[in-house]
Symmetry: C2
Subunit: 409 residues, 2 copies
């Protein structure tokens, strides 16, 4: 009944996993309007210059700059107003020497003109002439053709996660559909004879399943599609069948094991049956999260996570989310980190990476991180926490008052 | 044609707006499984203790702690094994003096027992007896009733934005449906004779509308529901009609004005017609984003944003997102900030808050922020940027080499 784990440090466990996993990004074409947060699966280049015509960047008069040289309030330049360029229309006028046209911000610069004089530095003389009180240089207050982006330039690379401004930039170029990475399907199985669905009233000795919901939510946040497959009891045959069915329809299989050693042994056995090479890592020098299984079965990642809710979320963040990102062809989302002073000593054992939940508090205008100690069975330690600190493998703890990086979650 | 703006600093503009806006949070009941990222509209308390029964936190033997006192490898305590507590079942055994039962992590502690001895510090003697090599204290390796959360405790307050672990914590208590804030509907109108839909090939002098898409995406990120209403030309009647219809079906109206002064004047006129008190702020000492309108019309917030894409996004972030959060009853999402050294001088005028786009670069292992200067017409300045720095109102710039806070976006 004793578990025989060959513990690996978290980064070594990840390296071993990566050596056996060859992620392939599957793409699908999606309208750009629906791609917020999706990851590009193709490099995109500009099909044309942006802007496609020279645009006025001020309200004022389009001029030939040379006509304004030396202009001053004492000695203004007189220009003939030969028309107005309406928004969204081709300029009907041509600006000759000594001439100008009324223009609006965003409108087209009429041919012949090479600059715009701001309306604020002009004075109307009569219906058809103005005084310019200040010179402009060639190109002043004009957005040149291709100044935003040039035809043929790479605008966004594959692997980029699309932000609101990216949608705007693509649509500005008339790119209305793009190839994005298909969301990896993450099948989630909760294992344990003690588990019932949250809607159910637990009988004596029973508890509600929560891992399949927390892990589904983490999957969504990371850009995957969760496929919750419910609860399976601690029964080898049933589990084997459920796992094989799940893996067939998903890109990743996550089993949160029963919390007892015998239930966990069962997970390892099931993973072994799912394909080659099978279990790569069984046990990680990590708290919480030691009895974690990393596996690749016939090309697909399979994870056996501990049943305790805090351990399950911690190991999901460390191993499953990076796997989802690999299948998206995307970089990891940068963690949201704040610096704070530690409010209490946090002891740790060397040779083990500790993840300690903390609550942030302000004291005298400075942020402090207050450790929340609690067994890894207690989901509310995560709820009371604002984030966590990581005590690295080679450290035996962090002292009160030290500045630590708090990963918010 | 000259715009007469009464410029307000950004924080004063926001204060004036808030004095006239009385946000009401509308609630709806939603299954907890679908509430990731939603904002609670009620305080939630625990309907029962969690756990509801004392649980074993280790694999081992449930014992009366007193029976193990003084036990050591040289002088072990002998205990009679009277049964096993199966996962998910009521313990059928009662632990009397000198007795113990086999238990599993997460299972119920049998009555009579008050601690669990880890299996690692026991030795089987025969089928029905074991040796305990180390004493345990009362309560050791046991999760007590209510240790995670006590019946009646507030578990999550109204205004809290739900994270994966929160879903788990609620479901663990059998809370499967909650009241969350209804997503505010944000109607978005793009105004401008020069605008065409992104699918369309722009004619000479025309450009594709992108603001309604970038602002819709920002709305989604902030927790609102965007209602894109398309493009309206610079026509007062048409605009007035479109705005009134939009406002009637939404909680917030955002108009991104045409970029010329006359088009912007039209926006102000339209806003005035929508209800009382109408325009509260017309002009903010901000770059980009000066010609911004903040208004409340018959209780609903209305914003006239500049037409330039960079200005529109900047002012949306500053004023519309906080308004969405008010209607959600939620705190602002904390900005993602990194510290970096400024790679070039950034000049600024005092009396104006400048938002300058920057790209992050690593130089000798240190992050540097490289300013991306560009006209506020150029959407690609936002796309090339990783974030922005804010030069405050009372500063005339930031010098190269200074450490700045970069707000990522």
């Amino acid at each position: 009944m004793r578990e025989l784990l060959d513990l690996r440090p978290p980064d070594e466990a990840w390296r071993i996993f990566c050596e056996h996993f060859d992620p392939r990004v599957a793409a699908e074409r999606v309208p750009v309007r629906e791609t917020l947060g999706r990851v590009l699966a193709e490099d995109l280049t500009a099909p044309h210059d942006l802007p496609a015509f020279p645009r006025c960047n001020m309200d004022g008069y389009a001029v030939r700059a040379v006509d304004t040289y030396g202009a001053s309030p004492g000695l203004p330049a007189y220009l003939e107003v030969v028309g107005e360029v309406m928004m969204g229309e081709t300029p009907a006028v041509h600006i000759g020497p000594g001439q100008c046209a009324l223009v609006h911000t965003g409108g087209a610069l009429p041919p012949g003109a090479d600059a715009v004089v701001m309306i604020e530095v002009t004075q109307a003389v009569d219906e058809t002439s103005i005084e310019v009180l200040k010179p402009v240089a060639v190109g002043e207050n004009v957005i040149q053709v291709g100044e935003d982006v040039r035809r043929g330039d790479m605008v966004l690379p594959a692997g980029h996660q699309l932000r609101p401004q990216d949608l705007g930039g693509l649509l500005a170029l008339g790119i209305t559909e793009v190839a994005v990475a298909r969301r990896p399907r993450v099948a989630i199985l909760s294992q344990g004879d003690e588990l019932v669905e949250p809607e159910q009233e637990p009988g004596p000795g029973q508890v509600r399943d929560i891992n399949s919901y927390t892990l589904a939510a983490l999957t969504e946040q990371a850009g995957g599609t969760p496929v919750r497959l419910g609860i399976v009891g601690d029964d080898l045959d049933a589990l084997q069948k459920a796992a094989a069915t799940a893996l067939a329809q998903a890109d990743i299989l996550v089993m949160s094991a029963g919390s007892s050693v015998s239930a966990r042994d069962m997970t390892a056995q099931v993973v072994k049956s799912l394909g080659k090479p099978g279990v790569l890592v069984h046990g990680v020098s990590l708290r919480p999260g030691k009895p974690t299984i990393l596996a690749v079965c016939d090309g697909k990642p399979v994870f056996g996570l501990p049943g305790n809710p805090v351990s399950a979320m911690n190991t999901f963040r460390l191993f499953v989310i990076p796997t989802i990102r690999l299948l998206l062809g995307a970089e990891l989302q940068p963690p949201l980190i704040v610096q704070a002073r530690l409010a209490r000593n946090v002891p740790s054992a060397t040779g083990r990476e500790d993840h300690v939940q903390v609550r942030l508090e302000e004291r005298d205008g400075e942020p402090w991180a207050v450790p929340i100690f609690g067994k890894s069975n207690l989901i509310y330690t995560l709820i009371r926490a604002d984030g966590e600190i990581v005590v690295p493998l080679d450290s035996n703890g962090v002292a009160e008052g030290e500045v630590v990086s708090v990963h918010l979650h």
